[in-house]
Subunit: 584 residues, 2 copies
């Protein structure tokens, strides 16, 4: 097997074109075997087998620098740079991350998981090269989907301005995570149809030397193209047409399903754990929004390139113009939401916590400063969300809840969540964000009749003494468990509070606690620093009350076990109870 | 005087072209008089007198919706929409803000001060119109300089996707705040030179119907152009060439100086308070960086469109390739900085606090996640910085200091500041941000020999008892004043601490305070919520110590008096002392 001979790109360079074609097949087979058994970004990697082999054949990594956008398409790159065993030996499947990772290899320059960054990173890498008067190629590989992000455009502009060697490979498979949206994509379509000859070429307009290759899945043609531009003394764009999911028919035919996923059947293309039955917070959100939309044409859902988190392709067709996918462009999603709200629509932007941070200024300057009634649904904001270091959802409370005017809500069950969402959509006084619960859908089967226009009113769900427990959102259940333990094992009936509001304090309630309590405990499903609990500790700083804040330590935890991480941070019922007892 | 007759656009519409030309002159004269006496964005407004009059003549605001990018070029718009007195009567100069302001007029849709947002806002306004099945024009007015921001590109893409009426006016005066940078600008230059006929038209590439007008300062030609596209049923770009500073020769000849400024002489074009003599934190930064650059070609300064905050035009010429102005593109500035640091350069990005928030994800995902040794110099982070609600610099501690790996430093004088900057440039272990002091340069005439690689080591500048005062950065002097008052008036010798590190706590020091102290006070020049003090209160939450946190309340304060705002937040020596006394 040729693949197993490859310990570094060196072995690759000694192969004939015929051997490379055999290697292409071996690499694709290994890739298919792993993703079908282990899961991962299947389609994107299947599409770049030939490109990646040609890259390492023509260029000299790590002397030449590769920067892969998003870097979820680097499985083949890893196979060719000393990490083949992680793809050929199931016992070693977990050895590598799903993204480039400098801790794994000198061939990986950055830890990357968000889109549209590669061109700016490459621009910096190339500028450093120029300052040091060194001589090598800097190559950025970016997909068509990532080009919708404004940062990619800023990168293109500045690469041209720098005017030295930077090779931009546009890997155009005519697909983002879902379908593409935006004026650029008609231009790419025209360029593909005309084999690069269409007028008003976007890349030429920005000043690039431009080359088009239709046969992006032909290793020989890729090699020839790369050879023609290697060592260029000025910026070049290679617009390469590839097939997402290439070599696996079922993936080629269903490109949205085969962007990424868990294990699947190579025979049927069905995912083995297909979501599972029963409602989820995602499905109840979709159902609720579709009902609202049917009743009111002003209700509109916005999403930036991950529409499947809310609606299936069929649902999107049904909804029509009341759903807007802006492409991977979170800044635009937020600012467009502000514009929608200003002109009397009822916009709801659904976004993952880790990607919401891409629109901080738009949340602050466009939505919050103008105090517009847009709704942000924050998904996967939890230690139990995505656990790659580049996709953590635990930083949203510090960066969102301290922006003036924002009302940030933390529901603890389905009924609370939908009541908050309904209130947010129908009110017109505040920008509102809702931290969508993470985990199994919890139904209490009783309507939530809370008037959320009474800002910062917390709910006391059990009145006790000595200890007051604030259980925020996902961690409300933990507060209840701690209270139960205090009661059962120590005869202490604690007060339990469901704060509901993250972005402000119930000062009346806090002022009242001193009378019957000695210790206040806050529990939040995010980082401790800059979080909700610290605002409580500060407010009570000159009181007689002891305050214990619980949250996650400030680190980019990578591929962690959520339960272990919680225990490391003292977030177990027993250790919380023990610490409480030491204060009273 | 025709200008005084105009109470609303209605009067304008009844005028003849000849009268409009007289109005142009009257408006420009009033504008020149006000900006020369009162200060403001002089050049940008001088350039759009004719455009603004033509806009209000042809379109029907507020039915038709105008969205002005940055909105610092809306003085004429204000003159024509019921706010003329604020430009004709010096006693009323302060009646209006320098930006669009919904509180002033129904003709102003948004409070805006950051660039590149207008197209996305307009896209949302137009989408709401379509959802409501209403019928009017949505017009976005954006300068060439603002087109370098990625959000503007995202907006263009999505306006084309929406495919209904949106009229984008590109006000091209071939100048950003300083000169433009980026591949786009060669395209705009080609289009100006060819009167819009050049190949590879950037706007056509994105799918726009495109019109070019060279005579952007001819009111008749502007009116004719606007009439041809009014009520278009699809997106249109009007590329209009105007003269920045038009009608005031000295401004036309010195476009960078005449972007904005204070009162100036109409005869000589000299600003009346030209910076003043003596060194400032900006000038010592520039001098220090130029020295470092001369000694080490790997040192490079990055800025996003406001180079004059660091270097004069002459200094920029002298520095050459070791200074990079990326245009108004803060995201790229940060991510390029990460790329520079990864490849061994020593990058220093200088940015205003209010604009740094435009790169939150780039700070977190590109620089911090990769733990790269780039330096961020955060300017105007203070209640004494810019005081327009859209330009506040008081939110940086909550959003920056809680990002993992970031070392955020708060110097209290020149020597500390330069020692921190020198350490940051030469070290290779951490991303570092420095909160550049605001106000008069303070020199202590003694070198700071602190080893800043000992992270989170605070400096105790006076050892006392009962009360411990943490004076962060700009507020260190306030801590000293409070200590003096406690000593003189109440015989209490307080401990004074210069924390220096914002992003982490000196736990050893905090643990030691309980022995001799009863009250800990934190003072920071930013918002209280999510700030440094609250991390102290949280850490000490289960101690016997009382903690008093001082900072600014969470609001978008607008055109405030800094001293009044401080007093409103209890930040006066006397009220701090009184509160301290109540706790001991």
């Amino acid at each position: 097997m040729l693949l197993e001979k490859i310990k570094s790109p060196k072995e690759l360079k000694e192969m004939s074109i015929e051997e490379l074609k055999i290697l292409v097949n071996e690499a694709r087979e290994a890739l298919l075997r792993k993703v079908s058994q282990h899961g991962g970004h299947n389609g994107p990697n299947l599409g770049v087998v030939e490109m990646t082999i040609a890259l390492h054949y023509v260029f000299d990594s790590p002397k030449d620098k590769f920067v892969f956008d998003v870097s979820h398409q680097t499985y083949i790159h890893k196979m060719l740079t000393g990490r083949g065993q992680a793809f050929t030996d199931p016992a070693h499947y977990e050895d590598v991350s799903g993204y480039t990772n400098p801790l794994e290899s000198a061939h990986d320059l950055f830890s990357i998981g968000h889109t549209s960054t590669s061109l700016s990173l490459a621009n910096g890498v190339a500028k450093a090269r120029d300052l040091k008067q060194e001589d090598y190629n800097v190559v950025a590989i970016i997909g068509d989907g990532s080009l919708s992000g404004g940062l990619a455009y800023e990168g293109l502009n500045n690469i041209v301005e720098q005017a030295t060697n930077t090779i931009v490979i546009v890997n155009d498979n005519d697909q983002s995570i879902a379908e593409n949206h935006g004026g650029l994509y008609q231009n790419l379509k025209n360029l593909r149809a005309s084999k690069g000859a269409a007028q008003d070429n976007f890349f030429k307009a920005l000043g690039f030397e431009y080359h088009y290759l239709d046969a992006g899945n032909d290793v020989k043609e890729m090699i020839d193209l790369f050879k023609t531009v290697k060592d260029s003394d000025h910026p070049v764009v290679l617009h390469v047409h590839t097939i997402k999911g290439a070599g696996f028919k079922l993936a080629e035919e269903n490109r949205e399903a085969f962007h990424a996923g868990g294990p699947f059947s190579l025979e049927t293309g069905e995912y083995l754990s297909a979501g599972g039955a029963g409602a989820t917070y995602n499905s109840v959100t979709a159902d609720f929004l579709m009902e609202k939309m049917a009743a009111d044409p002003k209700v509109v859902a916005i999403n930036g390139g991950t529409p499947m988190m809310l609606f299936s392709q069929e649902q999107r067709k049904k909804i029509g113009k009341q759903f807007v996918d802006v492409g991977i462009a979170e800044e635009h999603a937020m600012t467009m939401t502000a514009g929608l709200a200003q002109n009397g629509a009822k916009p709801v932007w659904a976004v993952f916590s880790t990607f919401m941070q891409r629109s901080y200024d738009q949340i602050s300057h466009d939505l919050a400063l103008n105090n517009l009634p847009g709704t942000i649904l924050v998904f996967s904001a939890s230690v139990n969300g995505m656990n790659d270091e580049s996709h953590l959802g635990i930083f949203d409370i510090p960066f969102l809840s301290h922006i003036p005017n924002i009302v940030y809500l933390a529901p603890t069950n389905k009924e609370e969540y939908l009541a908050m969402l309904d209130w947010s959509i129908e009110q017109s006084d505040h920008p509102v964000a809702i931290r969508v619960p993470v985990g199994k859908l919890k139904e209490v089967r009783a309507a939530d009749t809370t008037d959320y226009s009474r800002l910062n009113k917390n709910e006391v769900t059990q009145t006790g003494s000595q200890v007051a427990l604030f259980g925020l959102g996902n961690f409300y259940e933990l507060a209840v468990k701690v209270a139960d333990k205090l009661s059962e094992a120590h005869g202490i009936k604690a007060t339990i509070i469901n704060p509901k509001f993250i972005s402000g304090l119930d000062k009346q309630l806090l002022d009242s606690l001193e009378k019957e309590h000695q210790t206040v405990v806050t529990l939040e499903d995010g980082i401790l620093e800059g979080g909700y609990g610290q605002t409580v500790a500060s407010y009570l700083g000159d009181s007689e009350l002891k305050v214990l804040n619980y949250g996650i330590d400030k680190q980019f935890h990578d591929r962690y076990d959520a339960n272990e991480l919680l225990i490391q941070n003292g977030l177990s019922v027993d250790s919380i109870v023990q610490r409480i007892l030491s204060t009273i």
